[in-house]
């Protein structure tokens, strides 16, 4: 407490400093007068009396100074004074200040924007009870290499057998068409077992969740809404609990509303539904749906224990159900891995890139400060000579850099918010980043930004402060303009090298990503991506049975094909990328069925007649589907070349039968599909292999989803409104999602694109900063060496040789920087490997081009000062000083 009040007194005394000063003067004068008076009384002459009094008192100023020290808060006052001094100095050299501030604002702004993302996506714990105990459980594909969705029939077994996991539930994506205010809207949601609420340790904010009894009892008419659904779609109405909502899956009664930040592991969903299957129904389900499991570890159980428990159970299941589980296994993930596992390399790349930008910015400002401090050498020398202590001088210079950084940091917040908007626009809804919509620039980010600012301020300020005060003593002695600057020049040179090297690392990283992106986009998918509009429709199941749905789709296709501007129209059960409609395995029906482990897998795509021509997929053999291949006609199939080669070799497959174990709910494998045609291969992703694909007539494998493909010579996006109107003129409440095929394909590489764009932005910023830095240092060095140049020219050096001299030095520095940068890049680009497609991390082409670009920019930046050096008039240079 006393310490506090003491401090307060000291702080307050800054304000009353004038008063104290005057009081002290008066008091001492009074004292001296009294002493002089006394001396006079003892018989001294007046002048002598005064002199003796002063003598007796001792060093007057020193006494005052020591007295002041007792009252004033030295450190604080110095800080205030230093800041004021620094502000004045900065104000007086606006060119330098603006350059430094822009540099800092960009560096700090980018850092805090990326931090805000990283924090939300990776660092912030999820709003679950003891989130470290939540795990997700997946099965793997055949071969056990990558994670895959789980079989409900396996889930039931896990639920009954697992001992290390307390609550285990399933979750998977569900789309539902709601009728709200008379309009049909397709809304993304999730199926979520009742047990999942316990597994996550969360309950609705309003109302309640459905119970396991309701879920496994088959109750289909209940729903839990997200906070967003309630607020945005229902206007936050107070009577939401118990409200019936009309959907294409029948009426749903709202049981509860989740809290605002709630997500299932970051997946965007606006509502949650029970699976509403009984355990016996699930046990009898044959395929794999689209779900994974969420579990909560029992108290005291470690992740590893749960993992081995699950593996043991899975081994039993393989033995018991080989058909279903052969060659598969089970995978457990901790929350963090589940959510950001795939994003992690991209996020690390961005964090690394932004750190490099910040470093370049720091080096740049240190550079500017250093060059400036050289110009202030004499001032500093003078002050040292007058008795200023080194620590004091350093503190003053640090005040300058910290002030710069603080102002830069505030400006950086502005940059961050711009950057942030750009980032969100870039990510859009195309990249599934968990919780991206929750990323904000709040107080926390502001705090971190300012902290970064101050730390960078000290970082880039410390070195110039140390260097320039160390030489201070020599400055006066040498008396010239460039006293003691040799070490300084070496340092400045080192800075140029560092800057060039750091920028090159960013440039190569960005170059690799761009190159990879170009290669990705250049991948031949096997169909023509341009000039096609897609329109996806889901019919409400409550009102349409399968024949009705097919009738609707046939009518719709007819009308769409007749629209002006539409050359061809066709339909398929799903988009060609990024997913197969159905992933399954098949075998020749005229041969014995292979063992479970030997089956080859591929994609099944139900399509309408005309699909291949509309998509531009070449037909190689046989015929296309026709209207004759109806539901009651003999089952026929068209296969891809890859499938034909794999199963039939060089022989023509036409007329031969295939069987498909249709790996989805209710599938049958006793149908023989006769091959009637062969088409060219397609890929289902830009970075994926050609997949064996079997096409079936849509009418022989109907569904409630349909995607229409419309080929047009016009801009396809322009058709969107007409298409939606046409479809809704047949069924007003049907939700329609239109996108150009080009956009559909683009979205599949949105993440690579976003990383590439960000890296390019960072690299360009770093390049610009480096150019400014090189320019600054070379300009400074020309100014410093004006006299030397003048002398050289007076002695007969030509302008050209001077130019060469200056540029030569620049080239040496840049060359060294490029060399260092290339080595650093070759080490660092390895980390990008997982993000690259068909580009080696050490791609010589990229390295070469980027080094050339950087060298070119740096040379141009140093040409300007070098040119100026040619115009130095010898006589002027000699006249300096």
């Amino acid at each position: 407490m006393s310490w506090l009040s003491e401090s307060w007194k000291r702080v307050r005394s800054i304000g009353s400093r004038e008063t104290i000063e005057r009081g002290l003067d008066d008091e001492i004068r009074f004292h001296l007068d009294q002493q002089a008076e006394k001396n006079r009384q003892r018989g001294m002459e007046a002048g002598e009396a005064r002199r003796q009094a002063l003598l007796r008192f001792g060093a007057l100023e020193r006494a005052k100074e020591e007295t002041r020290d007792e009252v004033r808060p030295a450190v604080l006052e110095d800080a205030v004074r230093d800041t004021r001094h620094a502000a004045r100095l900065l104000w007086r050299s606006p060119g330098f200040t603006i350059a430094a501030l822009i540099t800092l604002a960009v560096g700090i702004g980018a850092t805090s924007a990326i931090y805000s993302v990283v924090r939300t996506v990776m660092l912030e714990p999820l709003p679950y009870h003891e989130p470290e105990r939540v795990v997700t459980i997946w099965e793997t594909n055949r071969g056990g290499t990558s994670r895959n969705v789980i079989a409900p029939s396996n889930f039931v077994e896990w639920r009954e057998r697992v001992r290390t996991i307390a609550h285990i539930g399933m979750t998977g994506p569900v789309n539902l068409a709601f009728v709200l205010n008379g309009h049909g809207v397709g809304i993304p949601g999730r199926a979520l077992s009742a047990d999942s609420f316990q597994a996550l340790g969360v309950q609705p904010m309003l109302g309640r969740a459905y119970t396991p009894e309701e879920d496994y009892g088959g109750r289909r008419d209940v729903i839990v809404l997200s906070h967003e659904f309630w607020q945005r779609r229902l206007g936050g109405r107070g009577d939401v609990i118990g409200l019936p909502l009309s959907t294409d899956d029948g009426p749903k009664i709202v049981l509860g509303v989740m809290a605002p930040a709630f997500t299932v592991l970051g997946e965007s969903a606006e509502f949650y539904l029970p699976y509403a299957d009984t355990l016996e129904q699930m046990r009898a389900t044959r395929g794999r749906g689209s779900s994974y499991a969420i579990g909560r570890l029992r108290d005291g159980v470690s992740f590893a224990q749960a993992e081995s428990d699950m593996r043991r159970i899975y081994a039993d299941l393989i033995r018991e159900f080989p058909q279903r589980n052969a060659n598969r296994t089970v995978m457990l993930f901790e929350l963090q891995d589940q959510m950001v596992g795939e994003l992690r390399p991209a996020i690390y790349a961005l964090v690394g890139a932004v750190a490099l930008v910040l470093l370049v910015a720091c080096v740049n400002v240190a550079n500017l400060l250093l060059a400036r401090s050289a110009a202030r050498e004499r001032e500093i020398g003078m002050r040292t000579a007058l008795g200023a202590r080194r620590g004091r001088l350093m503190r003053q210079m640090l005040a300058e850099s910290v002030l710069l950084a603080a102002v830069g940091g505030v400006a950086g917040l502005g940059v961050a918010s711009l950057f942030h908007q750009g980032l969100l626009a870039l990510v859009d809804d195309r990249i599934p980043i968990p919780r991206i919509e929750q990323v904000t620039l709040d107080g926390d980010v502001v705090g971190v930004t300012l902290l970064v600012a101050v730390v960078t301020g000290v970082l880039f300020g410390l070195m110039p402060a140390i260097v320039s005060t160390r030489q201070a003593g020599d400055a006066l002695r040498e008396g010239g303009r460039h006293g003691g600057s040799r070490r300084l020049h070496r340092l400045l040179g080192a800075m140029v090298v560092a800057e060039v090297a750091l920028s090159l690392v960013l440039l190569t990283g960005a170059g690799l990503m761009m190159r990879s992106l170009v290669k990705l986009r250049g991948t031949d998918l096997g169909f023509r991506v341009d000039g096609v509009l897609t329109a996806t429709v889901q019919l409400p199941g409550a009102r349409y049975d399968m024949p009705q749905a097919e009738a609707f789709f046939r009518q719709a296709l007819g009308r769409l094909g007749a629209l002006p501007g539409v050359e061809r129209a066709a339909g398929a059960s799903c988009l060609p990328v990024p997913n197969p409609c159905i992933g399954t395995s098949f075998w020749r029906a005229d041969q014995a069925k292979p063992d479970a482990g030997q089956l080859t897998s591929g994609h099944v795509r139900p399509v309408t007649p005309g699909f291949f021509d509309t998509m531009g997929i070449p037909r190689l053999e046989g015929r296309d589907f026709s209207d004759g291949d109806g539901a009651d006609a003999p089952p026929v199939a068209i296969i891809s070349r890859e499938l034909a080669r794999h199963h039939f070799g060089d022989a023509s497959p036409l007329g031969l039968p295939l069987r498909i174990s249709v790996d989805h709910v209710g599938g049958r494998d006793d149908i023989e599909w006769t091959v009637v045609g062969v088409v060219s291969d397609i890929r289902s992703s830009l970075d994926g292999p050609l997949r064996q694909t079997i096409y079936l007539p849509r009418s022989q494998r109907p569904g409630r989803f349909m995607t229409f493909f419309l080929r047009t010579p016009q801009e396809p996006a322009a058709l969107a409104t007409t298409v939606t109107k046409t479809l809704q003129s047949i069924e007003p409440q049907v939700p329609v999602e239109t996108r150009t095929l080009d956009d559909v394909v683009g979205r599949t590489i949105a993440r690579q694109r976003a990383v590439a764009v960000l890296l390019v932005v960072f690299a360009v910023v770093a390049l610009a900063l480096a150019a400014v830095g090189v320019y600054g240092v070379m300009a400074f060095s020309v100014r410093e060496r004006a006299r030397e140049i003048g002398v050289r020219m007076a002695l007969g050096a030509t302008a050209l040789s001077v130019f060469r001299l200056v540029l030569g030095r620049a080239l040496r520095l840049v060359g060294l920087g490029v060399a260092v940068g290339l080595v650093a890049s070759s080490l660092l680009t390895q980390t990008l490997e997982r993000l690259l497609f068909e580009v080696e991390p050490l791609d010589p082409w990229t390295f070469g081009v980027m080094a050339a670009v950087l060298t070119l920019v740096a040379v141009v930046a140093s040409c300007l000062p070098a040119r100026r050096s040619m115009r130095v008039a010898p006589i002027d240079a000699l006249r300096v000083n």
Partner: protein, 112 residues
């Protein structure tokens, strides 16, 4: 004969100043005079140390100051002992007496 601040035991100056103010409020000059007088001119304070000491004691709340007019009609700053200062003086005095007695005992001890 002139005793400068260097010879004064660390901390004793504060005690002497408090002692000088024990009787009545005084100005800086008065304090030097009083100490010089009491010490039979042995202790002549270097004023360079007096004023820092006064400001320090005031900051510690042991004394307080007011501007007043002297008998000769001049303005001077008078220092007054506070209650806390009086108590502090008591403590320091007791401490000092114990210490000086101890030192004296040692010095007076008969050697051989």
């Amino acid at each position: 004969m002139a005793t400068d601040r260097g010879d004064l035991l660390q901390g004793t100056l504060d005690m002497l100043v408090l002692k000088a103010l024990l009787l009545e409020p005084m100005h800086g000059w008065g304090i030097t005079e009083r100490i010089e007088q009491w010490s039979e001119s042995v202790l002549q304070l270097g004023q360079g140390t007096l004023y820092p000491a006064l400001y320090r004691l005031e900051r510690q709340g042991l004394i307080k100051s007011d501007w007043k007019v002297t008998e000769n009609n001049r303005r001077a700053r008078y220092y007054t002992l506070t209650r806390k200062g009086r108590q502090q003086f008591g403590d320091e005095l007791a401490q000092w007496q114990r210490m000086s007695r101890a030192v004296n005992l040692v010095l007076d001890a008969k050697v051989q």
